[in-house]
Amino acid sequence: SSKTKQESTQPQQTTEANKNKNFKVGLVTDVGGINDRSFNQMAYEGLQRAAKELGVTVNVIQSKQMTDYVPNLTNFAQQGYDLVISVGFMMHDATEEVSQKFPNTKFLIIDSEITDRPNVASAMFKEQEVGYLAGALAGLVEKEKVGKVKGTNIIGAVGGMQIPPVDRFIAGYQQGAKAVNPDIKILINYTNNFNDPAAGKQMALTQISQGAEIIFQVAGGTGEGVIKAAQEKNLYAIGVDADQSYLAPDNVLTSAVKRVDVAVYDVIKDALNGNFKSGIMYFDLKNNGVGLGKINKDVPQSIIDQVNQLAKDIIDGKIQVSDKISK
């Protein structure tokens, strides 16, 4: 009897699977490539998850140079891909251009706002919100001299390049720390590079020599060096994009997680089910598009409670977080 059951369900499953299999999703990375330890990588993970869980057909092109964006997007569109994903604000112009030429293809762009196209969805993240929480946590840890902190009341942030997503994180971080600890000093540096962890490490050590005890890395691969520096000096680092607590469980204070993977997965799922919506989608604390990762065991519950309250306030709109760094 079990045999017949299988036989009866299979055709149905197959058509379902076929339908999904025929749904083709293409992803074009920016020149950072999949291994950027940042949004390209997260987007790719979301894509992989969609392939595995939804059975859609996926394909990736990693752009080598900026002039590849238009041809790569065009190639996907021309080959009848249903959804084409552009990763990164650098692909804004290219996505605008190609989406206009292929109105029947759906596009998703990460980290950039395209509003006037019926076939383009933009996934924007409120990095400043999670940055705010990370900053508040750091501010409180400094103020109360928790764990490894001696209370210099100085914290730092190491950015990759001075680009919008990076600055939104740092802007929030700044505001959050100041909000709970007005006297705190925040060092902000950039390495001008997303793939030089050795430089990131020295940059972090430099901040540490200037008194910083908690350093927020917003620098992709470069940031691994920041975490390493915190580990060596037995201080704290804050991870970014993914939950990076596993890199140094004792020394990662928390991570400012940005769920690009979730955004990608959700949009694929919506498009597959005919629910594709153009325009800007915001991923924020409220819809779990951003959020803090694992919090270090050194942090007492009281502080965690305060941070959670701040999160609630942001979600409720009681706190507005600006996306601009103040000098």
Binding site: N35, L187, A198, T206, E224, K228
Partner: protein
Amino acid sequence: MKEILLNPQLWAATLAMATPLALPALGGTFSERSGVVNIAMEGIMLIAAFFAVMFAHMTGNAWIGLLGAIVVGLIVALIFAWAAVSLTANQIILGMAINIFASGVTAYLLNTIYGFTGTPVDTPMLPTVEIPIIKDIPFVGHVLSGHSVIVYLMIIILFISDYFLFHTNLGLRLRAVGENPEAAETAGIDVIKLRYLGVALSGLLSAMGGAYLSIGALNSFNPDMTSGRGYIALAAMIFGKWTPFGSFGASLLFGFATALSMQLQNTAFSKNLIMMLPYALTILALVGIGGKSVPPAADGVPYTPKK
């Protein structure tokens, strides 16, 4: 300014940033002294950085990781030498080809072997060294002590390199081959063998430089994590007039300028203008000291033995 110069971290960072330049620069000295321009050092560093992590993680021993990196670096260097020396191919094109290849192959292996989360967190690191007595001297201790063991190895290698090149018979022959291979050959020296040696040494030292980045300063591999250090090392070597101490000095200068630009970033200047510092200082220093540097006469010129 005084405050910055008195910050020991400035000087510690100088040494740390100089090391991954000085090692390939020393390597380049050997290779170019034997007459081969090895631009592939960048790629060799990168490949070595990857395999250092891989072997270190596989065996749980960072030293084996270093050894493995060196072996792989040597293999790549020998392939380069085969094409550049035995087949007399254009050394620059070959070097660039290897660099493109290295960038691709390491990222590819990273993905296929380790997936997206990157190299394993439990990869062992090479030890850091606390120098007794010195480590307790206030300022000096911070600057000189507590670096990765490779930093100290580099210093030792620096002296050995100088000794080897300028005080041994083999060093004499190696330099002869880079100056005038024909003369060396008529003196009964095997030009080809020595050029292989020169390139091999550059591979070995570049590999150490790469391993420093991945398992010396950190314990992970990131794509393109060498960030052009192989090229800057080449410039340092030229600046250093193809001598070990000169190369080391130029690497230090570069490391210092980089460290200084890090310290200065939080001052009033635009950070991007400050980041130009290492490069501008290098030019100024070069012009200031009358940067005439004469390469080995047969540098970059392939040689075909007569018979």
